[in-house]
């Protein structure tokens, strides 16, 4: 069974392998063993509530219980920008007009902001190429909404996700070439790596602080502002369908879009609901089922999330097999939070 659980220290080798395969663009998952271990330990400490609430970082792993390995990760940062500084550009508009000359000119302008300070971030989403099929991607991304729905007090009322910005097939970001490079004298991948390693002070030191009039950048760079990497488009579409909006904030390095939502307004949070579990005779789960339920136990430390056939939902009871119960750490009578994996399907219509 494919399940989602909090990451553990033993996952380090798998995680390192994945990071090595990921290449640049995954700012929060650099291929650096010490750093990845640090991240895992930070997550473990967070789950154990050994760190201050605002500094917690929750990392989840997608585990293939049969293969005995993890094949994906995702994370939630409880709050960004409270120890270091969180930067975004806001794409704003400057209007210059002269009625005498009949000129009215709108100029998109980038303002360096710290607007997201304190908000929670969905981050570190990565799925190994071998597992990019079926429902894995959706499960990995959406499990976090169930966690947010179950433990809202641990997070800010606003969550956001930064989408990887456009880069060409050689990994060159036109936005970086036209702006960042002129101030950083670094390659995008290097700068990106440094951010991921937590060495963020260089951003404050090197970044231009004054607003940037967009027409000063190359046409190519202008065209990529707020545009996501081709590979990230499905993820963006998924978040938008969950109620996330692009409100003009972009990444300072590659101008990828930042999408944000209030936790209460996220579709998955609103539509998820609690039902009771009954362990015993349950319908088989077919991995090719395109329309299953995501099911999360309501445990905190032993949080487990997986997919169950919709046939298993009978009234307010969810029927699960013994092996499912064991994988999801459930017993009869436990509450679970359920959600239709696909946003187009309203769970209520399946009530019997």
């Amino acid at each position: 069974m494919i399940i989602i659980r909090p990451i553990e220290t033993k996952d380090l080798p798998d995680l390192l392998n994945m990071a090595k395969n990921a290449g640049s663009g995954l700012t929060t998952l650099p291929a650096n063993e010490a750093l990845l271990l640090e991240k895992i330990e930070s997550s473990v400490a967070s789950f154990n509530q050994n760190t201050e609430q605002n500094h917690r970082f929750y990392m989840f792993a997608l585990e293939d219980t049969e293969a005995g390995r993890i094949a994906g990760v995702c994370g939630i940062e409880a709050a960004v920008g409270l120890t270091d500084v969180w930067y975004n550009y806001r794409v704003s508009t400057t209007v210059n007009a002269s009625s005498e000359l009949g000129i009215h000119k709108q100029t998109p302008t980038l303002y360096l902001t710290n607007d997201m300070t304190g908000c929670s971030e969905l981050c570190s989403l990565f799925l190994d190429a071998d597992y990019r099929k079926g429902n894995n991607g959706r499960l990995l991304s959406k499990c976090r909404f169930l966690f947010l729905a179950q433990f809202p007090h641990l997070f800010h009322q606003k969550v956001f996700a930064e989408m990887r910005g456009y880069s060409d097939e050689r990994g060159v970001s036109p936005f970086w070439e036209s702006l960042g490079r002129k101030f950083f004298s670094l390659d995008f991948t290097h700068a990106d790596y440094l951010t991921g390693t937590g060495n963020k002070s260089f951003i404050a030191e090197l970044m231009p602080k004054y607003p940037i009039y967009l027409p000063f950048l190359s046409q190519e760079a202008q065209d990529t502002v707020g545009k996501t990497h081709d590979n990230t488009r499905p993820a963006l579409a998924m978040l938008k369908s969950e109620g996330f909006n692009f409100n003009g904030l972009v990444d300072i390095f590659d101008a990828g879009p930042l999408v944000e939502a209030f936790v209460d307004n996220i579709r998955a949070v609103r539509q998820s609901r609690l039902v009771s579990v009954e362990v015993g005779c349950a319908p088989e789960f077919d991995e090719t089922d395109r329309d299953p339920l995501i099911v999360a136990n309501t445990h905190y430390l032993d949080s487990r999330t997986g997919l169950i056939s919709k046939q298993a939902l009978v009234g307010k009871r969810l029927l699960i097999s013994k092996s499912q119960a064991s994988s999801l750490k459930l017993k009869t009578g436990d509450q679970v939070r359920i959600l239709s994996l696909r946003e187009s399907v309203n769970l209520k219509s399946t009530h019997k």
Binding site: K182, L206, Y210, F216
Partner: protein, 347 residues
């Protein structure tokens, strides 16, 4: 014989012809007849010392070629104008005076061993009210030779004589580098984005309109120079070829390039303290004597001491005599009275 004197209304046609055929850009001098006429009027008020223009005088000089035969042959209604030049006592003339100030920020990271000097352009009005030399234009066939220097430096001699009208620091804006087709690489990279017009149009409006449209259209945030095109960066602070001789002259005179640039074409702004200028430091008052028997000496600029009827010419004379011998035709050209003293400075 060349003489520099205040412009008057008889000079209108001559100035107009000069301005319309000038290869150099003259932001401060319109080619529209009524505006030129108004400018001459303002200048006459300044030379007349009228209170209405006090503190904001806009002196306009012309350089006229007098026939060798002498003043008797001059057709005063149709003077032979070969140059024009101005002094604004107060840059901006009561309105804001725009410049970019080029500063540098250090973007450094010890951790990454990066140390970048980033030039930044700040829009500034700080030169507003400073006295400035402006509006210099000279007929093409007079560019070689003494005419340019006489015209340009006559203004400094004038400033030295009437210091109380001017600020202690003085500036000159030099035309920036343009392309063969009258475009400006600096403008194309900067102003054009906000004005939505080519350089020529903007330049035209800036000559004939109030500065309001600049306030309305010019971007207010500082501009990072590395974001401008390489072409624009390379012309910043460089004089136009046509302006280069005048630029060299001013450097020799004691002007220094400043941090200020023209907001349209990125041309340099020169500045100097009056006390540092060669012409002011070396000019002397002398008595004169009209004489046909002038012993040939070195070349000097000579002017009368009169604000309203200022005249300046070139003469060969011996400065070391207390009383300088001047040919009668120069005395005439300088419109000297019997007891006038003259100002002289080596040329």
């Amino acid at each position: 014989m060349l003489v520099v004197r205040p412009a008057d209304h008889h000079d209108l046609a001559g100035i107009e012809k000069l301005v319309t055929t000038s290869e150099a850009r003259l932001t401060t001098l319109s080619n529209q007849r009524d505006q030129l006429s108004q400018r001459i009027e303002l200048s006459q008020q300044a030379f007349a010392g009228e209170r209405s223009v006090a503190g904001k005088e806009r002196f306009l000089f012309v350089m006229e070629e007098l026939p060798q035969a002498g003043l008797s042959d001059v057709d005063s209604s149709n003077p032979n104008i070969i140059g024009v030049a101005g002094i604004d006592a107060c840059a901006g003339n009561g309105a804001p005076f725009y410049n970019y100030r080029k500063d540098e920020l250090i973007h450094a990271s010890h951790q990454l061993d990066i140390h970048n000097k980033v030039p930044v352009l700040y829009l500034t009005h700080e030169l507003t009210g400073t006295s400035q030399l402006c509006s210099l234009s000279i007929r093409r066939d007079y560019k070689q030779g003494n005419a340019l220097e006489l015209l340009s430096r006559a203004r400094l001699l004038f400033i030295g004589l009437f210091r109380e009208h001017f600020s202690r620091e003085i500036i000159v804006e030099i035309q920036g580098k343009h392309t063969d087709s009258d475009g400006s690489p600096f403008w194309d990279s900067l102003g054009r984005h906000f004005f939505g017009m080519d350089f020529k149009s903007a330049d035209y409006f800036s000559a004939i309109k109030t500065k309001t449209f600049i306030a309305e259209l010019m971007p207010t945030h500082p501009i990072y120079v590395p974001l401008l095109t390489p072409e624009a960066q390379s012309v910043m602070g460089k004089p136009n070829d046509a302006a280069s001789p005048g630029y060299q002259l001013l450097l020799r005179e004691g002007f220094r390039t400043s941090k200020h640039l023209d907001i349209f074409d990125g041309g340099p702004t020169l500045s100097a303290r009056l006390d540092d200028l060669h012409t002011l430091n070396h000019s002397r008052y002398k008595f004169y004597q009209s004489s046909d028997q002038v012993s040939k000496g070195c070349k000097y600029m000579v002017s009368n001491p009169t604000l309203s009827d200022f005249r300046c010419v070139l003469a060969s004379l011996d400065e070391h005599e207390d009383t300088v011998q001047l040919e009668p035709k120069l005395v005439d050209a300088l419109q000297l009275e019997e007891d006038d003293r003259i100002a002289v400075v080596a040329f």
